[in-house]
Amino acid sequence: MTLLKRLVPVAVALVVAISPARALDIDVSSFTLANGMQVVVIPDHRAPVVTHMVWYKVGAADEPQGKAGIAHFLEHLMFKGTPKYPDGAFSRIVRANGGNENAFTSQDHTAYYQRVMKDRLPLVMELEADRMQNLVLTDETVLPERAVVQEERRERLENEPSGLLSEQLDAALFTAHPYGKPVIGWMPEVAALTRQDALDFYRQHYEPHNAILIVAGDVTPDEVKTLAERYYGPLENKRPAVERRRTTEPAPTAERRVIMRDARASTPSWQRQYLTPAARNLPAREELALSLLADIVGGGNQSRLYQKLTVEQKIAAYAGAWFSADMLDYGTLGVYAAPNTGVSVEQVEKAVDDVLADVAAKGVTQEELDRSRNSVIASSTYLLDSQDKLARVFGVALTTGQGIADVLDWEKDMATVTLEDVNKAARTAFERKASVTGILLPEAKAP
């Protein structure tokens, strides 16, 4: 059956979280054009192929009040043409030149990319530079695309209860900050977005000084520099840079619980998310301590949660944890468990809490720390096999207030994390007041 599931990769996608594995032994170079556009070059000479990406330092969390979803909607509309390359031409030209392309939006960035043979790099640069400033929108192209985005929302979120639940968890975790709003937007606001809303947002944020060019693949920094100066260099900033200032979350005062009953849920599930600072606001050692803590507590089947709930107590089919802080303002530390048949969510919640309390009280062992650190560092080599993932790691870092050095020094910083760093994180991270717990329960179908 699965063989037949060939869904088209459509021109747009919400961003997929990038794991915190970042490191490496690569010769990355970076420079800035006179107009302020940053350029990053990541060499990979294995195949005559390049990945060309332009990242804008704007995402859903930068949207004006009442316009939820405009960043993502604009991402769709960026394919609708310019005077030089009218509607549909961009994609047709990329395709006719053997390229693959896509785009994605997150809370903190919007990015566009093409993968092409290296001799097509000038072509995709010309196209991307053109649409940075010359987008033309008409109701004829905007309105059907808004319907497409509404279908996307239904497909990704509304047709499955887990999608709707995760959106509610974000809304509950963030009291004031816009991370509480889904990237794709709430349906009533999406349904009301207009051509003018998109143009306003475009003109405010799509400028060379707000963009980062990342080229990975079979190119040299000199080649990229020459081409970037030719195609992106002449673009002028039309407005001063917009400072990215979002509301500060008030100090959390109450633990939150979101319980969703849905006939479409196949089995109960349990999860919890804790608010953390963003990576850029944490010293490297503290950030990495949190990420190692999440790995020791719930990364894979040697972890505390899997061993306790799944192997020993046999009450959960899966149990784990994750940490994600490559965001501009806040991060999240999450834990989850899927109860086995006949086991209640209360029972798995209690078992998870026991594991977390034990880690907070007694800490982790040096052996666990060494094992986790070695495995995370060793695994990072695999990242080098994917030009696309590697480019994304840099894109995410640079649009969330981190630097190239933060990525490259990762392994070095990793080595400095001590047992006490991890144990300190364990004592403070699992603060129930700063958390939201999500429970999904199947509901008997109406007769």
Binding site: L4, K5, R6, R46, R95, E151, Q387
Partner: protein, 439 residues
Amino acid sequence: MTRLFRTGLLTLSFLWAFMAAAHAFTIQEVTSPGGIKAWLVEEKAIPLLAMNFSFRSGSAEDPAGKEGVSEFLTGMMDEGAGDVLSQEFQKRREELAFRLSFSAGNDFFEGSFQTLTRNRAASVELLRLAVTSPRFDAEPLERVRQQFLLNVREKDQDPQSIAWQAWMEQIVPGDPYARRNEGTEQTMGAISADDLRATHRRIFSRDTLQVAVVGDITAAELGPMLDEIFGKLPEKAPEAPKLPDAKAAQGPKLQVIDRDIPQSVVVFGHEGILRSDPDFIPAYVMSEILGGGGLNSSLSEEIREKRGLTYGVGFGLSPSQRIGFYAGVLQTGNKTAAEALKVAREVMAKMAEQGPTQQQLDEAKTYLTGSYALRFSSNSAIADQLLGLQQQGLGKDYVEKRNAMVEAVTLDQVKAQAKRLLHPDRLIVTVVGRPEGLK
């Protein structure tokens, strides 16, 4: 259409010839001292090795009443082997940072293995144990059973899975292809260690083994490694009755499965062709123009771009070993399900009657030939491609010949394939949701 035509002219100024330099690697055919064959691409840039391998037996051969046993086996292959118990195996795997996973399709059982060069010997030793002597101890077996039961229940509720499953039951009723690869609560609840042993014995034999290796290893090193990993497997699989060719039901058929969801999942299609069909390449080019992956397929243009009815529509050839399918899926609001399906039929009918334009064909060719190299841009991607070519019975020179075959396709050939393969009046359609105007 005027606008499309204009942009088409613009596009032409960017067409290059793609015949040269599609790829930059050499495929070696390695035969181990023990007679095991593999395709190898040496790539020293990164201290990694990727190996994909498969056996020619999958879920379709699961015995009646044991549906899902191949799938169950995929979850047990890294849960202890030889003298190494499950927990120890997992611990060593984490220490060595190798990656190992298995998957069961209808026709093939596949393994994917990646290791760092510096840990290769120790990782390969564990792989050998997993491949030749998985343990199936009670603790991991019951633990993994819970995970697969959860998976079955999720599929029971997932609108896409429900729609595809129902479609398969409609098109090849009674055939093993129409069974659930992931099994049912009943079958997965009852599978025993003996069932898994029998399935391992059924699948893991050298006569149907195919291997692709890419990365930091030489041919001289690979030969002994192949013998180490696979050499102890039985020469031949146990005798089993060969499954007959699957027989496709004829449409039109429409089945609506009621679910209280805002969007209808519409699966539609009919019989297609086998990969061995002599006209597969022109048929493939036609199907890419009509409903293929990149943007701008005819179906996407009419249903998504012009009318905003869906986030994505795909429709393509899906050849299995005993039958080919030609099918696709779109998701659209319940209110617009009837309209979207109607447009899909019209687009198919137009393609069947008139075929594509010369310009559509030219653009499809430049895309398909130009993007072929992008499929070979990482070790793991190359390994994946090379194994797929072996499974389809294509030679290693296919990588060099493929673009020329696509180039050679003529408009007449594509039109003939459209006429031959597209039957919008005979579509089998399954819809999950509350579609208005369809029943």
